[in-house]
C-alpha cells in the first residue's frame, strides 16, 4: 500500500524529519507499505489538511491541531497561553486524560494520532524586551494563534495579522514592533537581524503548540498487523526524536540570537503568572464562550502537573 503524507514545512524542518523517520522505518521493515511525503504544502495548503484527512482523501499529515479549531473548538486548547509550561510538562500532557479526550474528538472525525509533539516559541521586539504584559502596550504586534492575539490585545497591544514569512519585512519597514512565533520560525526567517531583544523559551514560556503526526483512522485500520506494528515502531522512534529536537530548537534560537548581538531577556515566574491572569480574562474566557464542554477540558488540562 502507498500512503500520502502532507505537511507545510521545508525538508530541513524538524517536522519533516519526524515524518521521514516514520516513513524510513516503515520502508525498512519491508511490509509492503510506503509513505510518500509531500512537503512545503505541495499537495494541500497548511490549514486545508484536516478535512481531506478526515475524509480519507489524505492519509497522514503533520498538523498544528489548533488550525482546525474553527471546526472543533476544543482543539483551540492545544495552543492556549500558559497551559503548557515546558517540554517535559508537554510530554506529560500527551499521556494525560486531557489528551485522551482530544483524541476521542478526533476519532469522531476518523482521525488518530501517530506521533505526539509540541513545539515552543517566544517573543521578539524591535525596540524593547517583551517579558511581561506591560511591555506590549501600544505596540503593533503579530501573534501566532487566535488565543495569543486575544491575550496580547488584552495586554494593550495592537494586533496586526500576517503570515510568519512577512514578519521580517514588516519589522524592517516599521509596520510591526513585536512578534510571537515558534523558535524555529524566528531562526529560519532571520528575525535576529531586525530586533533589539529576544525572549526565548526558558524555564518559563507561554507559546506551546501541539503539532502531531495524524492519520486517517480507517486507513490505519485497513493495514495488516505487520504494517501497523512497523508504523507504530517508527512512530515511537519519531516521538522520542521530536521531543529532543523541540528542546534543541529552543536552545538553538537562544544561541543564534545571542551570537547576532541581540539582547536576551528571560521570562520570570511572576511574568508568567501575570500573562496567565490576562489570558484567563481574555483567551480562556473567549474559548469557554464557544464551547459548553470547554470548562471540563480546560480543568483537565490545567490539572496536569
Amino acid at each position: 500500500a502507498e500512503l500520502r503524507l502532507s505537511h507545510q514545512w521545508s525538508t530541513s524542518d524538524v517536522r519533516h524529519k519526524v515524518a521521514e523517520i516514520v516513513a524510513n522505518h516503515v520502508a525498512e521493515a519491508d511490509v509492503d507499505l510506503t509513505i510518500q511525503i509531500f512537503p512545503s504544502g505541495s499537495l494541500f495548503k497548511a490549514r486545508e489538511q484536516y478535512k481531506p484527512l478526515s475524509r480519507g482523501q489524505l492519509d497522514m499529515t503533520v498538523f498544528p491541531l489548533a488550525y482546525a479549531g474553527g471546526i472543533r473548538n476544543p482543539y483551540n486548547l492545544t495552543l492556549m497561553p500558559g497551559l503548557v509550561k515546558n517540554h517535559d510538562h508537554a510530554a506529560r500532557l500527551n499521556e494525560s486524560e486531557f489528551m485522551q479526550e482530544i483524541e476521542s474528538i478526533m476519532a469522531e472525525d476518523d482521525v488518530m494520532v501517530v506521533v505526539h509533539g509540541y513545539l515552543a516559541g517566544g517573543f521578539a521586539g524591535t525596540d524593547k524586551c517583551i517579558t511581561k504584559p506591560d511591555d506590549v502596550a501600544g505596540l503593533q504586534t503579530r501573534a501566532a494563534g487566535k488565543a495569543f492575539e486575544q491575550m496580547l490585545a488584552g495586554a494593550g497591544a495592537s494586533i496586526a495579522s500576517m503570515a510568519s514569512s512577512e514578519i521580517y519585512n514588516a519589522m524592517q519597514t516599521g509596520v510591526l514592533q513585536a512578534a510571537n512565533t515558534s523558535s524555529s520560525s524566528f531562526v529560519s526567517y532571520r528575525i535576529y537581524e531586525q530586533v533589539k531583544c529576544f525572549t526565548p523559551v526558558g524555564d518559563y514560556a507561554l507559546w506551546f503548540m501541539y503539532q502531531p503526526l495524524l492519520m486517517n483512522k480507517s486507513t490505519f485500520d485497513g493495514l495488516t498487523d505487520a504494517q501497523k506494528a512497523a508504523l507504530m515502531e517508527g512512530a515511537a522512534k519519531a516521538e522520542a526524536f521530536y521531543l529532543e529536537e523541540a528542546k534543541k530548537e529552543d536552545a538553538e534560537a537562544r544561541r543564534v540570537f545571542e551570537e547576532a548581538g541581540v539582547e536576551i531577556a528571560d521570562m520570570t515566574g511572576d511574568d508568567f503568572k501575570a500573562w496567565q491572569a490576562i489570558a484567563k480574562d481574555t483567551s480562556y474566557k473567549a474559548f469557554l464562550e464557544g464551547s459548553p464542554e470547554g470548562q471540563r477540558l480546560l480543568d483537565l488540562a490545567l490539572s496536569v502537573e
Binding site: K51, A68, G70, I71, K146, E149, A153, S158, A160, S161
Partner: protein, 196 residues
C-alpha cells in the same frame, strides 16, 4: 481594456428572451463584482489608517477583504464570460473551416459545462459541509465560513448558466463559434482579448 474604451465584444442574444435574461443576470453580477472590488479597496485603506494613524488593532479587515475578492472573482465569472474576457488561444479554431470549427466549439463548450458543472456540484457540497459543521475561520474575528464559501456554488452556477446560453446562441446561429466571423483573418481575431 483600460484606456481603449471602444466597443468591447459581448454575448449576443438576437432577441431571444432566455439569452437576453441570462445576459442581464450576468451584467448585474458584473456590477456587484466591481462594487465588491471597490469595497475591498476602501476597507484596505481603512485598515492602514487604523493601524498606522490610530495605532489600533485590525481584527476583521484582512479576512473581509480576502472574502470580498473571492466573491468578486466568482460573481465576475459569468460577467467576464458575457464580455468574452476570459483569455484563450484560438490557434486551432482559426485553422479550421466553418463546419469543423463549429464542431470544435460544441466540444469545448460541452467539456467546459462538464467541468464547471462538477465544480458547481462539489462547491455546493463544500458550502453545505461548512454550514453543517458550523465551521469558523479560527481567527479572533472568527466568522462562519459558509458565508464566503457560498460564493463558490453561486459563482460557478451563474457561470454555468452563461455557458449554457452561449452554447444555445451558437447552436441557433445567433453567435458565431468562438466569436470568429466565417472569413476571419488571423489579425482581426486578435484585437479583443487582452491581459497584463
Amino acid at each position: 481594456m483600460s484606456g481603449t474604451s471602444t466597443a468591447i465584444p459581448a454575448a449576443k442574444h438576437g432577441g431571444n428572451p432566455f439569452l437576453r435574461a441570462v445576459g442581464i443576470v450576468s451584467q448585474c453580477c458584473g456590477v456587484i463584482s466591481a462594487m465588491m472590488i471597490l469595497a475591498a479597496v476602501i476597507i484596505t485603506c481603512q485598515m492602514i489608517f487604523v493601524r498606522f494613524v490610530l495605532n489600533a488593532s485590525t481584527i476583521w479587515q484582512t479576512e473581509t477583504v480576502i472574502y470580498l475578492m473571492i466573491a468578486a472573482t466568482m460573481l465576475g465569472l459569468p460577467y467576464v464570460q458575457y464580455l468574452r474576457g476570459h483569455v484563450n488561444v484560438d490557434l486551432l479554431p482559426l485553422a479550421l473551416s466553418r463546419g469543423p470549427r463549429k464542431l470544435l466549439a460544441v466540444a469545448t463548450l460541452g467539456l467546459a459545462l462538464l467541468v464547471i458543472g462538477a465544480m458547481l456540484w462539489h462547491g455546493l457540497h463544500f458550502w453545505h459541509e461548512a454550514w453543517d459543521w458550523g465551521e469558523r475561520s479560527g481567527s479572533v474575528w472568527d466568522p462562519k465560513l459558509w458565508v464566503p464559501y457560498l460564493a463558490l456554488p453561486v459563482g460557478f452556477g451563474l457561470y454555468f448558466l452563461q455557458l449554457v446560453a452561449d452554447l444555445i446562441a451558437m447552436l441557433m446561429g445567433i453567435d458565431k463559434p468562438f466569436g470568429l466571423s466565417d472569413d476571419v483573418s488571423f489579425v482581426e481575431a486578435r484585437s479583443a482579448g487582452e491581459t497584463e
